[in-house]
Symmetry: C2
């Protein structure tokens, strides 16, 4: 059995092939340009490396409602060339095999769920804090999804008083979670990137407060078994004890959670999570 | 087939019996006192009205984790006589029939899902705004539940600037959703009950903003097909257009939702939702 994976990001595509046990045998990547150009490279790759099924994690927003006419499309993206692009349809026209189609965040979450920091847990909340804030919730092996997929990165948060004057950078909401806490918000405040700030800078306490507040609300709404954080900003390891302490304070013991140091944790698979998850979802599509 | 229902509230218990089509044939209620006294009345009722299964919606917090030793217990309640009370165990000792045990909010949500404002929808979010704020999420017929049941009533919200000085009344968080928007918070602000305020009072705009903010965050996290509101405070019908307008403004078109007037709606079953839902869950327990 051969499994295929596509991690379709806004800046680059990664394609990979594995055996039935998810041992990666080949892997390539190329920049995301136009659908014509980029998809031609995808087709060529899997023509050369035939597989039995492909798991696809795509940048979004995407339509995941199997009953909808636009299922498998990239829909209302600001990357105009890809707006309303029938990604899954294009794959199906070219390859007569099963596909699992979902968001880029969902495939990474699934990798962590099965093989990373979520191993052995029933319900996981996965956040990535990088250029944007993305999230995925997996309950009993299934992605939480209703009218469409969650967009938890834009929940509305209260300002930290020390950060009172910062308006946020989200073009939709200004000071939503992403607008206050993702990489570009840090850059806007300081005129330099997050990794250029000192890890002991007081700002990280503010950043941790926002992330903890998002964890409090998600805990009360979802009651996950673990909350897993990845993405560029979360490479600041000092954030974890700060988030944990702020979470405990803000939740104020209102509900039980797992022991805090096992509850709010870092990803384990790092950059491999997406491809690992996509391969596992490819196998799921085969059944 | 005879079905039984128990709506176990903090102030009163309601018991009812129906045929297999949920037509209620008998119903009684009595005040919630001590477990000994109150449960004796429950036992006597179902001794007199034998049923094939009972659906139970209990005030909480309750343990709903079937693998836990305390499954079916009322756990850490401020009603001390009921703290760590084995509700389901007591029922099972007395009656050798199947039970469905869940929260009082869940049974009411299930009633609305099957027979009320959620009819025909796959995923519903149900809120009750009364003495407290309770919530339930049903996805594909199943209650959302992870480490334990949601407690969405206590999510943290940003203050409305016009309400800047109000500290909230939640003993845990001060100004969480419940602390800002449930009945007692209104009473604290005005020294009179919500139903004594004029429906044209400017305050309802503030109340609507808080409720809309909770809907925005729950929408981004859960993506429900409909959000249904019940409870005493929501009897203020002018709130609905105000919440809808505020929701649209706060969400700022970031994600699609169903058409707003069909998205944020009032309960349809009113006080019958709990018993209806409990009877339906009793039938589910029989299968
Ligand atoms: N070590 C770091 N500390 C703080 N911020 C970082 C760090 N590394 C990357 N970032 C920020 O994270 C963002 C990139 O996130 P990343 O998850 O790597 O990619 P993307 O979200 O674009 O897929 C940028 O805004 C960058 O400044
Ligand atoms: N018409 C109304 N308008 C505003 N508030 C109301 C109204 N009716 C009841 N309330 C408030 O709702 C709360 C009671 O909520 P209710 O849902 O009836 O009961 P409970 O939450 O205790 O089960 C009280 O705080 C009461 O003041
Ligand atoms: Zn935003
Ligand atoms: Zn609270």
């Amino acid at each position: 059995m051969k499994l295929g994976a596509i991690e379709a990001g806004g800046t680059k595509f990664v394609c990979a092939v594995s055996d039935g046990d998810f041992n990666v045998e080949d892997r390539t990547q190329f920049p995301t340009t136009t659908p014509d150009e980029t998809m031609a490279q995808v087709f060529a790759y899997f023509d050369q490396h035939p597989v039995d099924a492909v798991g696809i994690g795509s940048f979004g927003p995407v339509s995941l409602n199997e009953d909808a006419a636009d299922f498998g499309f990239i829909t209302n993206t600001p990357k105009l060339a890809w707006k309303n692009y029938d990604f899954l349809g294009a794959m199906k026209t070219h390859f007569d095999i099963p596909f699992y189609f979902t968001t880029d965040v969902n495939v990474a979450a699934y990798g962590e769920y099965q093989a990373g920091a979520g191993r052995g847990k029933q319900n996981i909340l996965y956040w990535t804090v990088g250029t944007g804030v993305g999230a995925s919730y997996i309950q009993d092996g299934k992605f939480l999804q209703g009218f469409s997929h969650p967009e938890m990165g834009h929940i509305l948060l209260r300002h930290d008083p020390r950060d009172h004057d910062f308006e946020g950078v989200c073009p939709y909401h200004g000071d939503c979670f992403e607008g206050l806490a993702a990489g570009p918000a840090i850059e806007k405040r300081f005129g330099k990137k997050g990794f250029e700030l000192d890890p002991s800078d007081e700002f990280w306490e503010i950043e941790a407060n926002y992330i903890a507040q998002a964890c409090v609300n998600a805990t009360l709404i979802l009651r996950p078994d673990v909350i897993i954080f990845g993405g560029g900003v979360m490479k600041q390891e000092q954030l974890f004890p700060q988030i944990q302490a702020s979470f405990v304070k803000q939740l104020a013991d209102y509900v039980d959670t797992p022991e805090i140091s096992n509850y709010i944790v870092h990803v384990e698979l790092g950059d491999d999570a997406g491809i690992t998850g996509a391969l596992m979802l490819a196998k799921k599509a085969l059944k």
